[in-house]
Every structure is written in C-alpha cells, then in structure tokens.
Amino acid sequence: MSALVCCLLVLLILGFMIVTGLPLFGQSQAMDLLTGAWSPRNNLYGIAPMILGTLWISLLSVTISFPMSLGCAAYISVLGGHKKATVMKGCVQMMTGIPTIIYGFVGVFLLVPLIRETAGRGSGMCILSASLVLAVLIAPTMILFFIQSFDRVPRSWLDAVDALGGSRVQKLVYVVLPACVKGIVTGTVLSFGRALGDTLVALMIAGNAVQTPNSLLDSARTLTSHIALVSAADFESMEFKSIFLCGAVLYLITAVVILGARLIEKRGNHE
C-alpha cells in the first residue's frame, strides 16, 4: 500500500513539473527553451546556459574524482595492508557523513581565494572551484561503490593469483579490475548523478552567472542553483515557471542515469 503511495508520488512530481512548465511551451518552442539564452528583460527564458553549466561542472567533477576514487578503492581493497585498509575504509565511510553545506562553506573561504590568486583572473567563483569541491564530495560514495564491487570478486580467483605467486598489483590489474568493469562504470554513472543533483556547492562556489561558459575559470550557473536562486522570485512570472522546466530536465537526466546504471547491472547479472 504505502509502496504504491510512494510510487504515485514519484509520478506526481514529474507530472507537476511538466504541467507547471507548460505555459513556457506556449510562448515559444520547447527546443528554443532548452537551447536558447536567458534574458528575462527580452522575454528570453532559455535554460541552455544552465544545462551547459550543469554538464560542465558535473562532468569535470567526475573526471577529477574518478581516478582519485579508483586509486583509493584499489588501495583499500587490494593494495594496502588489511589493518590500514580497515581504518581507511572507516574514514571514507565517515566522509560520506560530512554535510554538503560544510564543503560549500569551506570552499567559499578557503578554495575560492586560492583559485582566484593562483589563476590571477576571475573571481575564484568558477567552474573549476565548484568541480574540485564536488569531486571531493562525491569521492567517498564512489570509493565505497568500487570497494563493494571489488569485494564481490570470488575469493577463489584471488587465491589462485596468490598461489601462482602474483603480487598485489598484478592481482589488481589482471583479475580485479577486469572483473569489475561493470561495477566501476555503474558507480561512476551513479556518482555523476549525485554531482548533477547537488545544489549547495554550485550555488555557493560556481558564481551563478548566466552565461555559456567558455573556460574553467568562468562563472557558471547550474540547473539546481538556478532553481534555488529564482524560486524566491515573483511566482507568476515566466522566470519562475522556467524553473519547472529545469526541474523536469534534472528529473529526466536523473532517470536516464539510473536507468543506465540498472541496465548495466542487469547485463552483468546475465553473464
């Protein structure tokens, strides 16, 4: 029963986003909104800059986070000693509990000035800063996901490598990684979803300019921060209604990400 209610709620949200976003489609074509520029004064409510900002930031953060997480997971699961690995795994688990707002807060006061001074231009509030903070934010989840998939490698395979005199690195490269490709891809895809959905870090650090970003040091606005910024606005304006389109886009991207992750997992199970 309650499961049914929950599921209805999920569909309700999507329906709500679309219905509320509909007036926008009346004014101009959907494609224009998705690909157009944002300039409320000229009656332009395109959310393309935000979509691009979102993609830049989440892709970059995953790109930074992926190698770091893979390295950490490899160390904890395979390369490191048992004792050290246990402690480190505990720490990583603890990290998942650090509130997002704290990453944002420290990012604003520590990283932003650092980036500004190092880069020598821009305000420091930019795609790069936001991506760096997000990379650290999503790493623990990604690591835990990788470790989980590493640990599913059958014990007997690892014993076989040990018995043949293989080193830990060889065990990692020849047995564990090939066996876990699917797990790694799934974990990365899900982390991408997490980076995509984060609001606070981008809102506090990315600068929120409504422009199509050209460089890593450009200020940018994500779909999520756009919602946070505009939701305080006049709620019958077209501006306000555009955030429902943002919501719907986020929703759809999330759905695709999760569907993708599930498909990959499913295919893994059949083999």
Binding site: M1, S2, A3, C6, C7, L9, V10, I13, F16, M17, T20, P67, M68, G71, C72, Y75, I76, L79, M88, G90, C91, Q93, M94, M95, G97, I98, P99, T100, I101, I102, Y103, F105, V108, L110, V136, A139, V169, Q170, L172, V173, L190, G193, G197, T199, L200, M204, T224, I227, A228, S231, F235, I243, F244, G247, L250, Y251, A255, V257, I258, R262
Partner: protein
Amino acid sequence: MNRWGEKAVYALSVISCMMLFGSVATLLCYLLIKGLPALNLGLIFGSTPVGDALLLKRQVFDGIFPAMAGTLALILLAITIAVPLGLLAGIYMAEYSGRFTRNVFGFLFDLLSGIPSIVVGLFGFSAILFLHHHVSEALVPSLLVSALSLAFLVLPYIVKTTQMALETVPRQTRVTGLALGATKLQNIVFCLIPESFSTILGGIILAVGRCAEDTAVIMLTGAVASAGLPNSLFKGFEALPFYIYYISSQYADQAELNQGFGACIVLLLICATLFILAAIIQRKVKHTLLYRH
C-alpha cells in the same frame, strides 16, 4: 608487467589516497582552526542566560540555539513521517511483492532516491503554493512542509535499507520460524525484523543524518533567517544548515562569520555522532531489543 609499471600503479593509488585524505583533512583542520575559538556557550545561546534559554523563558537572538532546536524539530517530524511508511513499503517490497511489481517499484524507488533534493524542495514549495491558492490562505511554507518534503527525500532510502536487510536474512533463519509454525506475518515480525533490526536501525539513523544536513529542500520550503524557537507546524523555522548557508553569503562582521564556523563544527559534530552511532548499532547491537517481555 614490469617492476616499474607495478611500482607506478602502486604509487598512483597511494597518491590518490593522499589527495583525497589530504583535502578532507585540510578542510577539517581549517574548520577546526577557524571554528574552535568560537565554540562556547555564547555561540549557542548568545547573550541570553543559558538557564533562561533552556527553560524557554527568554528568546535567544545572537546564538544558534533556535537553529539547533529547529533542526531537531525538523528531524523528529520528518523521521516520524518517513519511518512507518518506509518500513511498511520495505516489508512489502521484500516479502509480499511479486516479481513484476518489485522490478517496477524498485526502479521508481531508485529514481526517487536519485532526484536532486532541490527538485523535491521545489515540488514541496509549489505544492504548498497550490494549496495556498486553492484550499486555504493559512497554508504557507512552514516546518510541516519542510518535514514532509524531507520525509519524501529519505523515504526511498529507508525503503531500500529495509528491503535489503530483509532480503539478506539467510535462508536458514528465514525458514526457522516457518518450520516452527509461524504465519508469514509472525515470521516477519518475530524472526526477520529482529534479525535485520540493527541494519534497519542503522539505516534510519543515516536518514536522520541526511535530514540534519539537508539545505536545498528546506531553503525552498520554509526555513527562514530568523524565527526564534519552533513553536508551530505551520510557521517558518530556523535550521542549522540554512543558518550556515545564510552566514556564508552575508555575514555582517567577523564575529558573525566566526559564528558560522562555530555552527559548522556543531553541525559536523551532530552528523558525526549520528554516523558513529549508526556504525556501532549496525555492528554491535544484537536483536534483543524486540524480545523484551
């Protein structure tokens, strides 16, 4: 693979560990250095005497006491709403659903847990706007709306934890109760839930942590910069993470900024405590709790 290649792989993995742990350690140290000096009773209660504040005789203006109380009220409410629903749905998913429903609902719950929290907040906000327009003028963004939205946010998490906990009960334990003549319901209540109780409880505590830290949902559904102690479900409220967000963007002077750092440490402590609690419970607590006569 030659010796050097091996060394390189090993070194890279050590470097990644150092990068991650280094940055998190830097973050924490920075926070501690900046925030520890601010960590005193004044941070929490401002200039109001502690006793008076706790007995609710006087309001606290310059402290984070109202924000802490708001966060507490928010957590309690959200969890009270989410846990019964989540448990029931989880039990349904694990024990009663057919193959098809399990797949479909499973996907929907995954989807729900993946929805960005700001979208959940936006939904809560627009839903209450809608009700405000069409049902009653008295309905405005408030503590209750935030709690409902948050409950919605953690619901899939509780459902999944419950479901997984029940599904991973070993077959042997699963049939023990049945072999002794338990009905399906008895088996769930007396055998399966106690067996997986610690996992479920751990999951709930993590959900509490999620409620404590969330900012995106509450900033759209009722958190305000200044409201005093929460005293009604239908009014705005203060919350710790929102306070930190507010301070970060518009502190008036150094003292207020220091308070922001202090508040960060308080929030971090709260979350860490919850987290450690969850870990201890999942590992240590055996399932005695439900067997007391």
